[in-house]
């Protein structure tokens, strides 16, 4: 598998996700946001961070970066696109995923482990997990409250577009950390070829992280995409 990680000015998890992809034996190309062309790849990743400082709405400026036209074109051709945290915000702003990410209900940045349930294993992203499996993965964001209107939420539920949901657990701070509608931690597009999620699987990808539940996402991608 060959993956492209898009680097926006202000991305700060670009290296982290590259390390996790390489550990899953993917080849990785870092692509500057100002480039209008993308190499031919099997997967496009929009990493976490604060693209353009998030000084406008989170992800709003990055969604208009030169490279995003090509990201959209490839997504339409079915190339899988993964957006983590700030990357999820960019995907929503770019219209590649429904809904929006609002400031956390607590109005504070929140960095801690959360527990998320895998809603389906039927995607290139989640095929290494079992449906219903509970993962422990960190979040770190200020604007992670998933919002969509009632019709959109109903459609997401009906079409099985919810990828991950926050669930309660025994650890302190488990449960929904940001007030997301329907406890949504991650959503797919209709074709399940685009995934956005707030938790950081690349930060739970190595025993030294204190947990490696995020590895399955990268291993599953490599398995599905060669």
């Amino acid at each position: 598998m060959k993956a492209a990680v898009i680097v926006f000015p202000g991305s700060n998890c670009d290296r982290d996700v590259k390390v996790a992809l390489e550990a899953a034996e993917s080849r990785v190309a870092m692509v500057w946001h100002g480039d209008a062309e993308l190499p031919g790849v099997d997967l496009i990743v929009l990493p976490g961070g604060f693209a353009h400082g998030d000084y406008l709405r989170c992800g709003a400026m990055a969604a208009h970066s030169p490279v995003m036209a090509e990201v959209k074109a490839q997504a339409q051709r079915g190339v899988p696109v993964l957006g983590i945290c700030n990357g999820f915000q960019v995907l929503c702003e770019a219209g590649l995923l429904p809904g929006a990410l609002l400031p956390n209900a607590g109005l504070k940045f929140v960095c801690r482990d959360v527990q998320v349930a895998v809603e389906t294993s039927q995607s290139v992203f989640t095929n290494a997990y079992e449906a219903g499996q509970v993962l422990r993965i960190p979040v770190a964001h200020h604007d992670g409250q998933y919002y969509a209107d009632d019709d959109d939420l109903a459609r997401l539920e009906d079409l099985g577009q919810i990828a991950f949901r926050y669930v309660d657990g025994p650890a302190p701070g488990a449960g929904n950390p940001n007030g997301s509608a329907h406890d949504i931690a991650g959503v797919f597009n209709e074709g399940k070829t685009v995934l956005g999620l707030m938790p950081h699987p690349e930060r739970a990808a190595d025993p030294m992280h204190g947990g490696s539940d995020g590895c399955g996402l990268f291993l599953g991608l490599v398995r599905a995409l060669g």
């Binding site: 700060n12 353009h52 200020h142 992280h209």
Partner: protein, 725 residues
């Protein structure tokens, strides 16, 4: 002009030296430059004499104090670059921006030297929780630290946060940053090469922060609120671009010298570069990127706008530099040249705005041997009361502001970005992996100000010893420290006495523990309306764990393990949290620091960890043994039962005394007797005090408490307090 000089913070005697150094009366811009360069903040005029007492060398020290940050060898051709710095005054006036720019400033000190910042820490001291400003200050400072560090993408891996009425009018915000560089690719500030370009890069220069260094060199009064415009505004996004752009350019051979613009902005950075290189610098202010029009030379030279760097590049490398910075969309301009005149010449709008010989600005800065007196050390306590049921005392201690869980603030800091955080906040030291290797850096900040107030010398030694012990407790080899010396007005002999005592104690401990000082900062005038803070020499320690598979963590890791206390217990209650929280008394002398025992006990524990012989380890400090035990139980979610040894004296003193040089370790029960024997053979006191297991903490004969209740008490104070606004 003399009256203006006073307003700028120069005394009459100091001002009298200016015409002598210059050969004529200064103009406004020149006076501004002299006054900031000779401010306490920039010149260290009250502390320089005493700072020389601190040991600064060891075989692993690559560069000690005097540069932007200290540099130590961590093996494999790599170096750790680190420093801690205060941002107290701005944070009190404008907590969010004050704290945020404190983080930004210390990050620049680190990446200026060619290091990628990999860990931030902070040491925070607030006033009494019931003081009307405290909640607002905590909220603002924490949000500011998080807002800046999270955006630049450097993990904030820990620190301290304590409360005391002595900080009601003057909080302390000390920020530390640690970076990693190639040991043979360290960048310094010395300008060189006559005719070489001086390049300005980063944010535009505005009118913010003018004379911030002078503000930091004066006491506060009721009018200090009006100094809000002297607080700078941070832009972490630009800082992130600056980090990436500078590191990208540093990978080429373009840069000869580089210096960040911190206190006193363009003035201090250009003077330091010229002075260190023994050259002159000519600046053309018309080329400086400006945020607003109509700025005078005085304002441009004194602005403390953030996220700016100055560098000297090789002939022919200007193009490369401009290309890199333009890619990162940063403002960049060639603003001057290196000259052979030894003078700082500033041109503005076709005229010479300042023309000052560099040497006198630095070498002829005032230097004071301030009079000092040492206050008497308090007499030993007559009794160790009050006699309170130990579990009741534990409840009170674990929920007191200084010991209560700091989860509320830790979760506002991204402590995992960069994906190399191996030990998160909450242990004795944070551990970050050196990227791409199996080794780690351990980082801690420590100081016990109430000890320093009672006996500055013992307190100074204790702060260094505790940093050394905290690094040891995770299995690291302690290498060096940075110090952030926060004190009141040094013109008062009793305050100067605290400073001198602390330096002497620190120097003794640094020598005894082979733990030199490689960087630091002095912040005087931490007083409001004549009331000084507690003397607070905050110590930031850095150590190396050669093999991350051999480290120790604070939480109990299994049931039925033996708990061993390493180190001698006298039951010293003077200046203990037990006395403060339960008797309302900060009294008696602080615990003595036996540096030989400290070293012996620490070396023993570190060897145990390296051998894989222990499964959990925690140093015993604030609150004493029972608090340390509770912290281990809560972190691991496993209870414990211990017994007060026969002949240990009063249970209260044994359980809550703050004797130094002690650790609790847990290990499989079958190895415990052998460990105690091994300790005895090395002259280290050690005894088995109990075992892990269950879901409660029990002291045989003195009651028990469930972990659920303890956790609730420990976790609830800070969120409840912050919600109480």
């Amino acid at each position: 002009m003399a009256a203006l000089a006073r307003e700028f913070g120069l005394s009459a005697e100091e001002y009298a030296r200016v015409p002598a150094a210059l050969g004529r009366t200064p103009n406004l811009t020149e006076l501004g430059i002299f006054s900031v360069m000779w401010s306490e903040h920039c010149s260290y005029k009250s502390s320089r004499l005493w700072l020389k007492e601190l040991p600064t060398s060891a075989p692993w020290v690559i560069r000690g104090p005097g540069e932007n940050a200290g540099v130590i060898d961590i093996g494999d051709g790599q170096a750790a670059v680190f420093k801690m710095e205060s941002h107290n005054h701005p944070s009190f006036i404008e907590p969010y921006q004050g704290a945020a720019t404190g983080v930004g400033g210390i990050l620049r000190d680190v990446f200026t030297m060619g290091a990628r910042p990999v860990a931030n820490m902070n040491a925070l001291r607030f006033g009494a929780p019931e003081h009307p400003r405290t909640r607002h200050l905590v909220a603002g400072v924490v949000a500011g630290i998080g807002g800046y560090g999270n955006c630049v993408g450097v993990p904030t891996v820990g620190g301290e946060c304590t409360f005391h009425p002595a900080y009601n009018g003057n909080i302390l915000v000390n920020a530390m940053s640690v970076g990693i560089a190639e040991a043979d690719r360290i960048f310094y500030a010395a300008a060189a090469g006559i005719g070489n370009a001086v390049i300005y890069v980063g944010s535009k220069t505005g009118r913010d922060g003018i004379h911030g260094a002078t503000m930091a060199s004066a006491e506060f009064d009721e009018a200090s609120e009006e100094k809000r415009p002297t607080v700078q505004v941070g832009d972490p996004f630009t800082e992130k671009l600056l980090i990436e752009a500078c590191l990208e350019l540093m990978a080429t051979d373009a840069i000869i010298a580089i210096q960040d613009m911190g206190a006193a902005g363009l003035t201090c950075s250009s003077v330091e570069m010229a002075d260190k290189g023994g050259v002159g610098i000519e600046l053309d202010l018309d080329r400086v990127p400006l945020r607003e029009s109509g700025m005078s030379a005085y304002e441009i030279m004194l602005s403390e706008s953030q996220e700016r760097m100055l560098m000297v590049v090789r002939p022919g490398a200007e193009e490369v530099a401009l290309r890199v910075f333009e890619k990162w969309e940063l403002d960049v301009a060639v603003v001057g040249r290196v000259t052979d005149t030894g003078r700082l010449v500033v041109r503005h709008q076709g005229a010479i705005a300042a023309d000052i010989p560099v040497r006198p600005l630095v070498d002829e800065a005032p230097l004071y041997d301030r009079p000092w007196t040492a206050a008497p050390v308090p007499a030993p306590l007559a009794d160790g009361g009050p006699a309170i049921e130990p579990m009741q005392a534990l409840r009170r201690l674990l929920a007191c502001p200084d010991l209560a869980s700091k989860r509320w603030l830790i979760e506002q800091y991204d402590h995992m970005v960069m994906a190399d955080t191996v030990q998160r906040p909450g242990g004795d030291a944070a551990v970050v992996r050196v990227h791409g290797t199996g080794k780690g850096l351990a980082v801690t900040t420590d100081c016990t100000p109430r000890y320093c107030k009672a006996d500055p010398r013992a307190g100074g030694a204790q702060a260094v010893a505790e940093a050394w012990r905290n690094l040891t407790a995770v299995g690291a080899r302690p290498l060096a420290i940075t110090d952030c010396m926060n004190f009141g007005n040094p013109e008062k002999p009793e305050i100067m006495g605290q400073f001198v005592g602390a330096i002497q104690g620190m120097a003794e401990a640094c020598r005894a523990l082979d733990f030199p000082v490689v960087s630091g900062n002095v912040s005087f005038y931490n007083e409001t309306q004549g009331r000084a803070i507690l003397p607070t020499p905050a110590i930031g320690g850095v150590g190396v764990i050669a093999d991350l598979s051999r480290q120790a963590r604070i939480g109990f890791a299994g049931e039925g393990e033996a708990i061993v206390l390493v180190g001698a217990t006298q039951g010293h209650l003077g200046q203990s949290l037990y006395r403060r929280e339960l008797a309302g008394a900060e009294d008696g002398p602080p615990p003595p620091v036996d540096l030989a025992a400290e070293r012996r006990n620490g070396d023993f524990v570190r060897a145990l960890i390296a051998d894989g012989a222990v499964r959990a380890c925690h140093d015993v400090s604030d609150g004493g043994l029972l608090v340390a035990l509770a912290e281990m139980a809560l972190a691991g979610g496993i209870g414990a039962t211990i017994e007060v040894p026969a002949g240990a004296g009063p249970a209260t003193a044994w359980l809550f005394g703050e004797d130094q040089g002690r650790y609790l370790v847990a290990l499989p029960a079958e190895g415990a007797a052998e460990l105690v024997e091994r300790a005895a053979s090395e002259g280290v006191p050690a005894c088995i005090i109990g075992s892990t297991g269950g879901d409660a903490l029990t002291v045989t004969g003195a009651g028990h408490i469930s972990l659920n209740e303890l956790s609730e008490l420990h976790e609830s104070w800070l969120p409840a307090y912050m919600a109480g606004g």
